[in-house]
Symmetry: C2
Amino acid sequence: MATRPKKKRSSKKSKARAVPSDEAAFLEAYRAEDFVRPSVAVDIVIFTIVDADLKLLLIQREEHPFRGAWALPGGFVRVAEGADQGEDVEAAATRRLSEETHLDPGSIFLEQLYTFGKAGRDPRTRVISVAHYALVRPDLAPFVAAGEHASDAAWHSVEQLDLDALAFDHGEIVQMALERIRGKVDYTDIAFELVPQTFSIPELRSVYEVIKGQSYDPGNFRRRFHRMQTDGIIEKAPGKRITASKPASVYRFVRGGER
Amino acid sequence: MATRPKKKRSSKKSKARAVPSDEAAFLEAYRAEDFVRPSVAVDIVIFTIVDADLKLLLIQREEHPFRGAWALPGGFVRVAEGADQGEDVEAAATRRLSEETHLDPGSIFLEQLYTFGKAGRDPRTRVISVAHYALVRPDLAPFVAAGEHASDAAWHSVEQLDLDALAFDHGEIVQMALERIRGKVDYTDIAFELVPQTFSIPELRSVYEVIKGQSYDPGNFRRRFHRMQTDGIIEKAPGKRITASKPASVYRFVRGGER
DNA sequence: ATAATAGTGTCTATTAGACAATATCCT
DNA sequence: AGGATATTGTCTAATAGACACTATTAT
């Protein structure tokens, strides 16, 4: 449990010590190396919905530990010493997201989820992971696993996924991500991130049904979104969605149209 | 922006390398020192409500940087190398909370808020902070700033606090904590964490009013909590709360009584 | 024509909110 | 007695949900 001074107890906090009078000198005197530091990583739960099935992107590990097991995409936050301290945590998540999906980060919803910091969660060394979750539109999903590294990245249906079989504590992370989107879909606009640019009300309803794991009355659901239309949150788009039965009108989400 | 290998590009990820066949040997071969690591800290926004005034606990910094400025209580997560990797992030937050308040951690609500990881947020070195927020019951608040270190820790009214004057990015952290409790008070039980063990409906209403910054109709508010009583979330307690006018009945929160 | 699903209408129960009226206690 | 606030009651509007009904298209 030791962590404070590593070598020389350099009198850091003792008030008796001679504090450099100007701040610049103090910064130089600060000895960051005196403390054992953890590695910090980002992990991302990347969701999409295709054919009314909630999926997430996993990577098969090629190295120990958990070799062969499926894991969340992730990586270490790039840190540097000196004036440039490296990349923001948020930037690390964005970077890994686009590296993994080969998609424009601007078109993908990304948000911090929770930081998992239990000792021992990575057997190699102390790793604290800032978990995120992302939402990929279904029309973009087919392009994702098509990159050069297509071999080891793949969409997995949440339905038939064994969370306990995932590497590290990633099952726990996925569990929390699921709870988060189930909660947020009710009071935010995240559902529109899981639907194509133009969508029909029944398509949107399907997103809610998949995320919440329950069915919604078509009539009542439609009325609920009719209110969004009068509020300017969504607007009618040209054309119709052709299905096996009666075609449906298509709509478009108006960014920042809440009020 | 450099961060990958530090000295020897030891062929970590090259598939051509001879991977130790058993996992134990691999773990030993892992060179954690090859990467520059950040420091990881916890910071805690400790709230209480006294006399219908939302307050938070701040500490006056005695050292550079931001010497003399007010800052959130916090500290580094204790990390170790070897089999014992140190303390959990959650444990670090709990530890700092009780060190700072001298109260039983079991009687204080504590939850992770968000991780602040912008490069440069601490001018000394790269520090990533896992921010938390805590809620202290008003009857315990007076004991907090009474410890030995009473000199530099004090409750500050949020009302008259200049967030931009806080050290580091702590103003931003407080801002997010405020938004969090304003949102959560509507759909969770956190209001009961800011009220004594026994409380009257008007007292509880005051908590809502202070957090949300709006007033509630006494009659309507009362009916809203009468439903909680029939649901078993709260129950009547003996005695009455004596005030300057008509005394009110007192209630008690039933933990886990939601259903 | 029929199946299937989009879309509309109707009714009921629940809840939020405005607001009036009454009860109870302190001073 | 008078002031203040707890507590109860009443009414209206908004919303959720159940459910029946109509419209439109593919086959």
